[in-house]
Symmetry: C2
Subunit: 286 residues, 2 copies
């Protein structure tokens, strides 16, 4: 399906690099190019045969690309589109992979040339830490990919993007409204990241570091976070994440009072609920 | 060192079963016996050669055991000791593996026969879910074991217990005051469990279940919790866990306000700190 397509990946970090590797492993394409400010990553990817080439001048690969995958921070993706709008190939498909979708889709539509299509995307996978160095073409296996098409997108383009994501390893492709995506992701991704960092930064860590078990390790895995990216994601999704934070703080306060009044029944009932939900989730995913 | 010893494990659940398996795999002992109310687990352990036998009457293995390892809930461990004090072998060593130590060590000392020694213990490892069925002799590898000896314990006994725990797979044995243990564990273990359950139980889960990634999965792994056990652990360690909950709620409030006022610099600085700490921790553990 993509044999005759040239694809450019903009931003060859953890996600861009992983997508490049997954495309190389799973798809036939005419050309796979990359754009990044980090020349080292580009050279490494070229030398190992992951990409077919890279260019100093962004306009060259864009002019030849049927699909452009923006794997940068959200505002950088918008900025890239703005700067390069005239360079995109006629009828090209542009997609992104950043963690917020409402603003991206709205702003992209404002600046998009009429022959182009933009569809927002977001992989439900990643890794702690950052950079091409740790990118891995297999990290998408078993994860879902969210796309947030607009009514102006053609069915064919949506289907093409969906199939491409399934081919490179995603388990399911979920279609969501951009705003629904942002509301959901505040809970499923942003909240766990904030909790991980908050627990990690506690004063109590220093006394406790020899007494750490699996629960602490797993809970704090993503505390090794890309602060530049995440401060942007959180601020851009402010309303939703503040609502989730309020809700979790109020739930923690309930648990606080259950423990304070030694209300074993309420604690047991909360833990029974969480146990059942977590078991169900485990079976769903396997 | 333990070739001539008979050991009885009281409570053949996840931890008791895992210790039994780890002893069978790594130590020579004269006899390895078990006591449990769940006859199925006992029979399975006997049939597969993990234990040498079990008895209807607790007093029989206790009379012949040099070491008794209590792997029950904390209050059940105290209750077992109380009920069986006259049955323990002369000079036997009793230890436990439960998640609170202050109360256990204090109460055990009150009821202990003068020829016996009690040392509290707590493995920094486990698994979500419960029961002998999922016990595993390898779960201790790479984890630390905490012991909380009292000044009345002999050096030889402390050393014997330490060596035994190292032999069955623990990476390090840490000695702590019982009260220090309880304070630390509220942060390193109880807090992550409460956060996992609280996030899991959020109303937002139902809309979000298709949009779950690694951060959510890892953070909620231990939400599949043993509610009976954990309500007891939390209530028995009330003062410490309430302090940790207060502290994390106040830290979350700080993050809330940083996002609210779009203070990217403070967010970045918090994430830089958590990233560095988490990286350091990772290298320490490997």
């Amino acid at each position: 399906m993509t044999e005759d397509f040239s694809i450019t990946i903009v931003g060859l970090g953890l996600i861009g690099g992983s997508i490049a590797k997954a495309i190389r492993e799973n798809l036939k394409v005419k050309n796979l190019w990359a754009v990044d400010i980090n020349k080292e990553a580009l050279e490494e990817a070229k030398d190992s045969g992951i990409i077919d080439g890279f260019f100093q001048d962004d306009s060259i690969p864009l002019k030849g690309s049927d699909i452009v995958i923006l794997c940068t921070y959200p505002n950088a993706a918008l900025e890239f589109m703005r700067r390069n709008m005239e360079h995109f190939r006629k009828n090209a498909i542009i997609t992104d992979t950043s963690g917020i979708k409402g603003k991206i889709v709205e702003e992209a539509r404002k600046i998009l040339r009429h022959d182009l299509e933009f569809i927002g995307g977001h992989p439900m996978s990643g890794k702690e830490s950052t950079g091409y160095r740790i990118s891995d073409g297999t990290i998408f296996r078993g994860s879902n990919y969210i796309i947030t098409p607009h009514e102006s997108n053609s069915k064919e383009t949506v289907l093409l993007l969906k199939n491409m994501m399934l081919k490179i390893g995603f388990r399911k492709v979920i279609e969501l409204e951009p705003k629904t995506h942002d509301r959901i992701i505040a809970y499923t991704s942003q909240l766990p990241h904030i909790l991980a960092c908050t627990v990690m930064n506690s004063e109590s860590f220093h006394a406790g570091r020899d007494c750490i078990g699996g629960s602490f390790k797993d809970m704090t895995r993503v505390a090794d976070i890309n602060g530049e990216l995440w401060s942007e994601l959180l601020i851009e999704n402010k309303e939703n994440i503040l609502a989730e934070l309020s809700s979790v703080m109020s739930d923690l306060e309930d648990i606080y009072h259950m423990i304070e009044r030694e209300d074993a029944d309420s604690l047991k009932s909360a833990f029974r609920k969480s146990g059942n939900l977590r078991k169900e989730m485990k079976y769903e995913k396997s």
